[in-house]
Symmetry: C2
């Protein structure tokens, strides 16, 4: 689908792979694109806070530039950063995660692309627990693999989401991997250790990869860090854990993340880093050292702010008569059902036109999202108040 911004050459066959031509355009991008150049938009569609990167982290990048850190780094990353990530992860997850299990990447996104390059052969099937931000599903398809979506089940009794273990069991023998994003974008669902243990045992038994996308592990409100597959696994497990500087330290525009992998695979992933981006940005890596070393106070302050916004959001949405909101435990999204809609994309286009509030349609996150909407509440209470007052007529 062309995006309508340019005059395209008609009937020209550019010999692009069929799968690439038909890759789904994110409905979020489609809606956001219609807002470009418009005034008075309240953009709640993208997954980022309105907090710029704190200045102590920017200062570290400035210092790195002054120190001449502008050359290629090692494929694994700057050794000092690798060591700091090792200490940080080991401390958070209460076990030794040595530098030999860590590779720095050009954001969590490229770590996921490399994960799919490493394991997905054409026609390989991968279970993806949905709703989920769609990008890893597209990585699987780029590599010629097939996605098996297994949706979380909304449980009325405790107003939250649950894994559909029966359905996972049914497919597990036929897949190469299972992809789980917890804390979850878009639902705010957070797996507990018991659920992780169940998945780990199932995957061990069937020799299935777990690709665990834990980029929101610090965006939690009732503890210091979310339960992680790192807590319960060992270095022998077929486990890739993807993390990022984007969310924890408000560094979305920096493109810096890391992957924790079995030590045996480091040399393979170093090669993939080489052929994907060569090595992540050198000055950004030096800033990453400072983010981890000096960033805990920033995280605490940010979480307090986000929790205020979360409470405000829950309060508003629970009072809208058309809305059902499963409790958003973690991350910075509210994912809610609107009883009287059946086409969330249409609803989001109309809402943008009528009110200027930019929402993300549930169809962005897998099948079954037709009545669902995501908002990113990582904004100021003032902006959120304005947005919800504008949304009130459509949601009550």
């Amino acid at each position: 689908m062309a995006n309508g911004r340019y005059n395209l050459i008609p009937n020209k066959d550019f010999k692009i792979r069929t799968i690439i031509k038909s890759l789904e355009t994110s409905p979020i991008r489609k809606i956001a694109n219609t807002a470009i150049g418009k005034k008075d938009i309240i953009p709640l569609y993208f997954g980022e806070t309105d907090i710029a990167t704190p200045s102590f982290i920017s200062q570290a990048m400035k210092d790195a530039l002054d120190a001449g850190h502008t050359f290629y780094s090692a494929n694994q990353g700057v050794p000092e950063l690798v060591n700091i990530i090792s200490k940080y992860s080991s401390s958070l997850h209460k076990k030794n995660i040595p530098p030999s299990r860590i590779m720095v990447t050009s954001a969590g996104m490229n770590a996921l692309m490399m994960a799919s390059e490493a394991i997905i052969n054409p026609k390989d099937k991968v279970i993806c627990i949905t709703p989920v931000w769609p990008n890893f599903m597209r990585c699987i398809e780029i590599m010629g693999g097939e996605v098996i979506e297994i949706p979380l089940i909304y449980s009325d009794s405790d107003n939250t989401w649950q894994l559909n273990i029966a359905e996972i069991n049914k497919h597990i023998k036929n897949v190469k991997a299972i992809y789980i994003n917890s804390p979850n974008n878009p639902t705010g669902w957070m797996m507990d250790s018991q659920e992780q243990m169940a998945i780990l045992e199932l995957c061990r038994k069937n020799k299935i990869w777990i690709i665990s996308d834990e980029v929101y592990e610090r965006i939690v409100y009732d503890r210091n860090v979310a339960p992680s597959f790192l807590d319960i696994s060992d270095e022998n497990d077929l486990l890739l854990v993807v993390n990022s500087f984007s969310k924890s330290w408000a560094m979305t525009g920096w493109r810096l993340g890391w992957i924790i992998l079995p030590e045996n695979l480091l040399h393979i992933f170093e090669k993939l880093n080489e052929f994907n981006v060569a090595s992540p940005s050198s000055p950004a890596q030096y800033a990453g050292i400072t983010a981890i070393t000096d960033g805990e106070d920033f995280i605490k302050t940010m979480i307090n702010k986000l929790d205020d916004s979360r409470k405000l959001t829950i309060n508003y949405l629970n009072n809208f008569s058309q809305v059902i909101l499963p409790f958003p435990k973690a991350a910075f999204y509210a994912y809610f059902k609107v009883k009287n809609i059946t086409d969330s994309e249409k609803f989001c286009f109309k809402t943008l036109t009528d009110t200027g509030v930019g929402l993300a349609p549930g169809t962005s996150f897998g099948k079954g999202g037709n009545s669902w909407i995501r908002i990113c509440y990582a904004k100021s209470p003032d902006l959120l108040n304005q947005a919800f007052e504008k949304l009130k007529p459509a949601l009550t």
Copy 2:
């Protein structure tokens, strides 16, 4: 092959794709890895200058950080940068290359990875003109494609390299694309417009993609810019031109580049950007604007320095009795044959041990490099003098 740095788990099958397990480790990396931690190494193996990024470009990144440009950018790139690249390319290549044909990428490397994702289906064949830096050949293999190497022919009569048009003709009907890197790493070969026209006509006739890696287009000594496929093509051609900030503005560690593509494909490549790295580093993109706008004097000064190093290098190598050096027209490498060697990797290991000078073996750049060596001469005359004096016994 494990790199020997860590204790690996024996006999563990990690269910990695066969092609990924067997991806060739760069012989350059193998040699450079053995030098880690050693003193008094003169590293001429990597493809970067010893010039740190100039401070006016670093200052632009600092200003971007202060201005709060730390959020995600559009998939196409920051519009101001896209527009500047459009003006710059249009001016260099004397034709209108509109912003709609440009996408900013996380370095030339990721542009090449996306090019292979876009067009290479499993078993698709791609002609690669060798010797060439090997990374795009590995991208083809990651996508399940097959590389057909067609080496340049060394011509005694004019002491330079020539395309093997007969061999290209023989294979052209069976391939999806032809990959050419000119100005070339490692040989310093530079295609002329006539050769480009011959290739373009052949590809037009057979509907074959040209993937033109032009990252050294400004590293030229007898003109302002190298001949480019952009000069002779139109927007209907199956042509992807990859470029980078790394070489022209000494920004290797920044990971910033761009791709010029048929306008019809922009929306497809925007999706690939999203699923590879989402968008290139935002603060780096703002620095890119300044690099292009204010960087011409820097390029001139750098080229003058490089030309001094080139002359010094040619002078030394031509006086070594064991060396045959095809004239290095462009880029910043000398690629030479050593008459009395048949295993360039072994020679480079031995040279590193005996003299501390780090060279790149010809086997890094495709088949047939067993008697060949690359040095990167983008170093100070002082360092080069030291290196050549140390190399003299082995090369005479």
